[in-house]
Symmetry: C2
Subunit: 441 residues, 2 copies
């Protein structure tokens, strides 16, 4: 039987999962490939740490170069994370004519265009299913399954840490700090959670999904990003009272001329299937012009789900090695990538529905003053509630608006923050609710 | 620019969608393929019927053989449905060395093994993403995305007609006959709905999904099938009261030795994400040993969603034609298909939870007699309700059981039906509720 040889660089959590699958599912993988998928070598700086899989000592090395320089290795799997060293290893693998599998979304978002260009020049492939949503085959779905569609819009819950924290805050009414601490204990959040909770990781993944959706170059800078670390549980409760759930959504939408590209806490209707995505689960809700809406949902992280995606990529590359056909599917779905940046709609041009919360001093006429300013900026109110719950000597006024322009909203809120009867800053979140668009009261 | 030529046999609903996509998305498809995907010919017996797309007259023919015999055509798309003629056309296309795309689940379920063998012998491919769940890329997900997994279980809502009828019955409390009539008016059910409502269409699709899940030959006969046409809205209401929804589920599960293969109305917990799949939507909830549960959800039928799947297949085959690599992914996911039949668990061996409804005459001691018989067969009760609602001089007793063996259930219900204090037949449905398994009262 023929064999395809795989070298794994990075024997951490995901690396361990990949090694386990290559060993434990060897027979299944051979049945699928018609050849043996061989774990040829595993490199990691730390070879002593106990791991949940036994690897013959002679396959282990502390020097990645032993994989990169081994002419017998066909596919290199990069699982060390980070930017510089990972990039160097991938470029070295490409240079030596090896195909590459990576789960490194940060690297792809920052340097993906260069890496893909280098691979194309050398005639090798880079596969990255594991970079977005772990075990959910969303890359495959966008690049091949929905290939006959123009993608109209895509909503993603792409970061399990944030979704776990928001679920805990929403269901238990606890603070962000408490929920984060619980997530850290449960192993869903890192000691330094910034990359997750500030929305950066979600933006990395959205950059990849946007490229696949539109057949455009990766463009991380185009994405407006706001995280969840300043969320007040009060707003999750008010969102609930209006029939919404608050999620950290990655959103992109093509209006035919420009595309939206944004990551921020977003209110979605309770009835929307995305509001059922709770805990550490991930989901992508994508609308093609032919398919209509499609949801893919599952575990977006963790050892074995992510390893499943890595090994599906290894198998795919191995199939190309066995039968020819390398490069049959371009990495971003199209042979000619569009330049992305000219197409982006600036956040200030966004037109959507908003949730506002003002901390009003308990004096008569506050609502009139606030709504007067909103009216001056063409912002009309779909619903309002002024509850008796006093917070720091103020009473919250909560509003849901009809469609308004982001630039107008920012100007109006700046004016409102200057009113003596409110305690700044005004809080605002964006809403995705198709039923709100048309109605006006 | 190079070109790949496509002939479409069957210019009905899906055929029209495919023709529209090949024409309207021609530029997008060319960007993806790096070659032109050309609609070369369209065959249909009726060329006069008005359609939502304009096709140059010279591309139209009433004779399928003009496509089959055209040496310039690379890919033949079969969209006429039915068994015999469709099979003849596909075999003729294979014989002439053409690759085939079909949406014909009935044909695949009945004759798929022979067709796949004929294609393999001739070195051509048969693709069938559109045969299951319309625009949802479930074939791609099982065959490639989850390729590193052993599939542990799969639940499918695979027939939009049935799901629409059940949703209407559940939400409006109307009868099956009323809901069917509404579905026919809304265009979700055929004039003769038997293939849908008796579960046959769902079984066809499950046969395909099982083959892909296990890398086994297609085996329609292995599947136990029960439809929805005898459902009483009373049972949907009682299911709700116990916290369940009733869905027509396709179920397969691998216990490591044998696999379950069944299609029947099933109670699932209200909180399960599959219970949110309402109206004509389709969904597949599949658990791989590495990925854990994954959900794919979307429109399972209709002109454009189904056409999207057909065209994604055309593109995939065209990529193999352009770059080599035909046969790189075996049609059922594995190069060596397992024989399926020896692995099937007979329905009588099934161990699961049950919902029972007995029509009890309003006399003392009924519950004691019924539960006595159940106890004799080792069937223990998790919950019971005896409501005052009188139906035809009887009072319904509804029970939820702990895990029981199907053969025991059938025997016990046969005994209960002979009691003078109940009005036969006893109604029973199976429950899929992971939380019920362990608890006992």
């Amino acid at each position: 039987m023929k064999a395809v040889n795989v070298g794994v660089i990075g024997f951490g959590t995901v690396g361990t999962g990949v090694v386990r699958l290559l060993i434990e599912q060897r027979e299944l993988l051979a049945r699928r490939l018609g050849a043996d998928l061989v774990l040829a070598k595993v490199a990691d700086l730390d070879l002593e740490r106990p791991r949940t899989v036994a690897v013959p000592r002679e396959l282990l090395t502390s020097r990645a170069v032993e994989i990169l320089d081994d002419p017998g290795i066909d596919i290199v799997v990069e699982l060390i994370g980070g930017l510089n060293t990972a990039r160097d290893y991938i470029l070295a693998a490409i240079e030596r004519g090896k195909h590459v599998v990576t789960a490194n979304k940060a690297l792809l978002a920052h340097h993906g265009n260069d890496l893909l260009a280098a691979a194309a020049a050398k005639g090798v492939e880079i596969a990255f299913e594991a970079a977005v949503c772990g075990g959910i085959p969303i890359i495959l779905a966008l690049r091949q399954g929905l290939a006959a569609n123009h993608i109209r819009e895509l909503f993603g819950i792409l970061n399990g840490t944030c979704n776990y924290i928001l679920t805990q805050m929403s269901q238990q009414g606890i603070s962000y700090a408490q929920a984060l601490a619980e997530a850290q204990v449960a192993g869903y959040a890192e000691a330094d959670p910034a990359l997750d909770v500030e929305g950066t990781d979600t933006a990395h993944k959205l950059a990849i999904l946007m490229s696949l959706s539109y057949g455009a170059r990766l463009d991380l800078e185009a994405i407006a990003v706001e995280g969840i670390s300043r969320l007040d549980p009060l707003d999750l409760q008010f969102a609930r009272e209006f029939g919404y759930r608050l999620k950290l959504l990655a959103i992109t939408r093509d209006d035919g001329h420009r595309v939206e590209a944004r990551v921020h806490p977003t209110l979605i209707p309770r009835e929307h299937i995305m509001s059922r995505v709770s805990g550490a689960m991930n989901a992508v809700y994508v609308t093609g012009d032919a398919t209509g809406p499609i949801l893919l949902y599952g575990q977006g992280a963790g050892m074995m789900p992510t390893a499943s995606a890595v090994v599906s990529d290894i198998l795919d590359l191995a199939r190309n090695l066995m039968r020819g056909g390398a490069g049959r599917v371009p990495p971003l779905g199209c042979r000619t990538a569009l330049e992305s940046t000219r197409l982006i709609k600036p956040l200030n041009d966004l037109v959507t529905n908003y949730y506002f919360r003002f901390a009003a001093l308990d004096r008569p006429g506050v609502l009139a003053q606030v709504s007067g300013i909103l009216g001056n900026y063409g912002i009309s109110i779909a619903a309002v509630t002024q509850k008796g719950r006093e917070v720091a000597c103020t009473v919250p006024i909560v509003m849901i608006t009809h469609e308004a322009r982001e630039a107008d909203v920012r100007q109006a809120l700046k004016m409102i923050d200057q009113l003596p009867v409110v305690s700044p800053p005004a809080i605002f979140y964006r809403i995705e609710d198709p039923h709100l668009h048309s109605a006006r009261i």
